[in-house]
């Protein structure tokens, strides 16, 4: 494994104008273990600088993810200024970096537990991309590469507490007022039917009266003897109904009352004369 890469490095060295070393790492192991299980339990995986690990790593709630490696500049172990394990959340783009604690010869480790992760990474729906970044000052080519994918197994009995949603200036949800129930009339067909049924009662009524012998035979006689009284009386009865109709449709009380007073007076005076005439007929035995 090391021979072809150093051959490639030598080729690069001959071809490029300046000899530029590059950062990388060796002997990288990733372990996921809980406190009591020791070296045997948990996941153990070797990491290679050239390709990401194909195995998906899972970190349960109480376990610790530990990566041990030796950082190298060129072919010698050396401590870079920046040695991070960066966890990147793909949907929101948020990321968090954890620094390695390395000795002078480049050997060191980093340990991550679920407690160290912020809420947004803990509750990520897709696996987090873990990258290793090794870089320092100077002209060496820095190293940053996707190392593995990390899935988190949250503790279902103690879910992480969501931080309060911060206030941000965005459009707020649309609200359309829901109006109270509006009374509506039933179908017009039914209204028509019953209106016609009611109006049909009028001819039925007249028919029943006719059967019982109702008539207006003395109309000529009455108008002959007191035409003005009967005319005015009938007119005032009809006019009163007219006043009521106008009050129903457009007039207000103060427009209607004077007219009703006039019509009522006419009805009283003409009516008493008309009734006198009726009394005359009654006394004559005609009623």
């Amino acid at each position: 494994m090391r021979l072809p890469s150093s051959l490639a490095l030598a080729a690069l060295a001959f071809s490029s104008a300046c000899l530029a070393a590059s950062w990388s790492f060796d002997d990288a192991t990733l372990t996921v273990s809980s406190k009591g299980s020791g070296a045997d339990g948990g996941v153990k995986e070797k990491l290679s600088p050239n390709s990401p690990s194909s195995k998906a790593i899972t970190l349960p709630a109480v376990d610790t993810l530990k990566i041990v490696l030796t950082a190298t500049e060129g072919s010698t172990g050396k401590r870079p200024h920046q040695a991070f394990l960066t966890l990147h959340e793909p949907t929101t783009g948020l990321e968090e970096s954890f620094p390695f604690s390395l000795k002078e010869n480049g050997k060191g480790k980093v340990e991550v537990t679920q407690k160290d992760l912020p809420y947004q990474l803990l509750t990520s729906a897709s696996p987090l991309r873990a990258s290793l970044i090794l870089a320092s000052f100077g002209s060496s080519t820095p190293y940053a590469s996707h190392a593995f994918d990390l899935t988190l197994q949250l503790d279902t009995t103690a879910p992480p507490t969501a931080p309060t949603t911060p206030e941000r200036y965005t459009p707020k949800p649309v609200i359309n007022h829901i109006f109270k129930f509006q009374e509506t009339s039933g179908p017009r067909v039914i209204s028509f039917f019953f209106t016609l049924a009611v109006l049909a009662m009028l001819p039925v009524l007249f028919g029943a009266w006719a059967l019982l012998g109702a008539n207006v035979d003395h109309l000529g006689k009455a108008f002959g003897s007191a035409p003005i009284a009967h005319g005015l009386f009938l007119g005032s009865v009809l006019a009163m109904e007219g006043v009521f109709f106008m009050y129903y449709t457009s007039w207000n009380l103060f427009q209607m009352l004077p007219v009703a007073g006039v019509v009522g007076t006419v009805a009283y005076i003409s009516g008493s004369r008309a009734l006198t005439e009726v009394q005359e007929r009654r006394l004559a035995g005609e009623r």
């Binding site: 401590r79 200024h81 920046q82 040695a83 991070f84 960066t86 990147h88 783009g93 948020l94 990321e95 970096s97 620094p99 390395l102 970044i133 870089a135 000052f137 100077g138 002209s139 820095p142 940053a144 931080p163 911060p166 206030e167 200036y169 965005t170 459009p171 707020k172 649309v174 609200i175 007022h177 109006f179 009339s185 039933g186 017009r188 209204s191 019953f194 209106t195 009611v198 109006l199 009662m201 009028l202 009524l205 009266w209 019982l212 012998g213 109702a214 008539n215 207006v216 035979d217 003395h218 109309l219 009455a222 009967h230 009938l234 009865v237 109904e241 008309a274 009726v278 005609e286 009623r287």
Partner: protein, 477 residues
């Protein structure tokens, strides 16, 4: 009556000319709302930024330079602002002097003054500044010496070893629906910057320029070998942060004062991958200073109108004849159809232009009593020479009371708009209810009344003029 003339003709002339001269002097000073004060400790330092001063002056700002130690430096004069804008360059001393205490700077912002505060990793940040920024929820590294480096995005031409000159692409929009006022063509060089971390709770903060994901902040004195305890990394580090107060005064924290220097305005830089080019620092500095000093991202509200949108007289369907309408009435009735319009312009450097909403953003109208009954979008319907008119139509709720039309538009990087118009909403009057003949369910009953009336009149006629019934019928009874 003895009238004593205390004003001869000559005196009157003198008086008038003196007044005119005085007026012109007063005119020149009071209408100038672009007074910029630059506070820098070393007056010789200001020559390093001479291109930037030239650009500001060409945009109409009148610059004054002062040292924080000067005794007659005051931000306020007779209770009003002495300077409309303030630019603070990094200072070596422990504070900004007795005339620029954090308290006075906060008062300055509350009086609508704008501040551009420049920091530098070369000089330790005074504790007064750190505590002022803490009030705004902006966190600086606790070590007073702090520097942002990036081993992947640095300028190979000037910082091949130290990696402390970051080379960044133009910033992207903050999020969907927020306009990006800081876009430039080219890369931006940020030398020796102090990174800031913005608190999550405040909606008034927004990062203008974030560090790339491989950047980090460290203390060059203590952490020269390796960095073990991180202040912040990657895009959590904000290199330039913006704070817009609720009165729309702006406070920008610029992490690298050096990026405004002449030598960085058109420096030749080389990226990590070897691509060479010139920096876009001059254009970026123009956009940054324009936003901070209220030349960009300023919104102005014109006319706000509302009127009843029903029973318009014939022929005024499109209502351009405002005279027919009762504009902005004080009282409406429940369930009225109301038309609301608001005119908004945006000020861009020198003049007003019609305001366009950023894509996916919405301008909303709230009709609310204590809480909104309606919150509906306002759509742009027409444009004048320098404004856009946004309108909405709504049906007033069936609740009577005192309501407000509220347009509450607050977005990062734009002035806050809050327009409130109060109206009364009354209930139906006794003669506004639908008449019974208009209610179809009442027709049978009205028919019944008609039948009763007709029957009554017929009965009166029959009673008055009937002859007794025929014998046949009576006998049967």
């Amino acid at each position: 009556m003895k009238s004593f003339e205390y004003c001869t003709a000559e005196m009157r002339w003198l008086f008038a000319s003196l007044l005119l001269a005085l007026l012109s002097v007063v005119h020149a000073r009071s209408f100038n709302s672009s007074r910029l004060l630059v506070v820098t400790e070393e007056i010789t330092e200001k020559d390093k930024y001479s291109t930037f001063w030239g650009d500001l002056e060409s945009r109409g700002f009148s610059l004054s330079f002062a040292s924080p130690k000067s005794p007659d430096l005051s931000l306020f004069k007779h209770g009003a602002l002495a300077y409309d804008h303030l630019l603070l360059l990094p200072s070596k001393s422990k504070g900004l002097g007795p005339n620029l205490t954090p308290n006075m700077l906060v008062n300055y912002i509350n009086a609508n003054g704008n501040i551009l505060l420049a920091l530098s990793a070369d000089q330790p940040t005074p504790p007064a500044i750190s505590s002022l920024l803490l009030e705004l929820d902006i966190f600086l590294p606790p070590d007073r010496n702090a520097l942002v480096v990036d081993h992947f995005n640095f300028d190979k031409a000037s910082a091949a070893e130290k990696h402390d000159v970051l080379l960044l692409t133009s910033p992207k929009p903050l999020r969907n629906g927020v306009r990006n006022y800081f876009e430039v063509d080219g890369s931006i060089a940020v030398p020796r910057a102090v990174g800031q971390v913005l608190g999550n709770a405040s909606p008034l903060l927004a990062p203008i320029l974030r560090a790339p994901s491989t950047a980090y902040s460290y203390n060059p004195k203590d952490e020269a070998e390796a960095v073990e305890e991180l202040f912040a990394t990657g895009s959590q580090l904000s290199l330039i942060s913006a704070f817009q107060a609720r009165n729309s005064a702006r406070f920008t924290v610029l992490g690298s004062a050096e990026m405004l220097e002449n030598k960085w305005f058109d420096a030749k830089v080389k990226s990590q991958s070897g691509v060479e080019g010139a920096t876009a620092n001059r254009a970026f500095a123009e956009k940054l200073s324009a936003w901070t000093f209220q030349e960009l991202g300023v919104l102005k509200v014109g006319r706000v109108e509302h009127y009843l949108n029903e029973d318009l007289p014939k022929g005024t369907a499109n209502s351009s004849e405002v005279g027919f309408l009762d504009l902005n009435p004080k009282i409406y009735r429940i369930k009225n159809d109301v038309h609301f319009s608001i005119e908004i312009s945006e000020y861009v450097f020198t003049h007003l232009v019609p305001f366009t909403l950023p894509p996916t953003d919405e301008l909303q109208l709230e009709f609310s009593m204590l809480s909104p009954f309606h919150r509906i979008p306002l759509v742009p319907t027409s444009r004048t020479a320098n404004s856009t008119v946004f309108t909405a139509t709504l049906t007033l709720p069936d609740q009577h009371g005192i309501f407000n039309f509220i347009v509450n538009y607050k977005r990062p990087f734009m002035t806050n708009i809050y327009e409130k118009r109060t109206v009364t909403v009354r209930h139906f009057a006794h003669d506004e209810w639908p008449r019974s003949f208009a209610i179809s369910a009442a027709w049978p009953w009205i028919g019944g009344i008609g039948v009763v009336v007709a029957g009554w009149v017929a009965f009166v006629a029959v009673w008055l003029w009937s002859a007794p019934a025929e014998d046949g019928l009576r006998k049967r009874n």
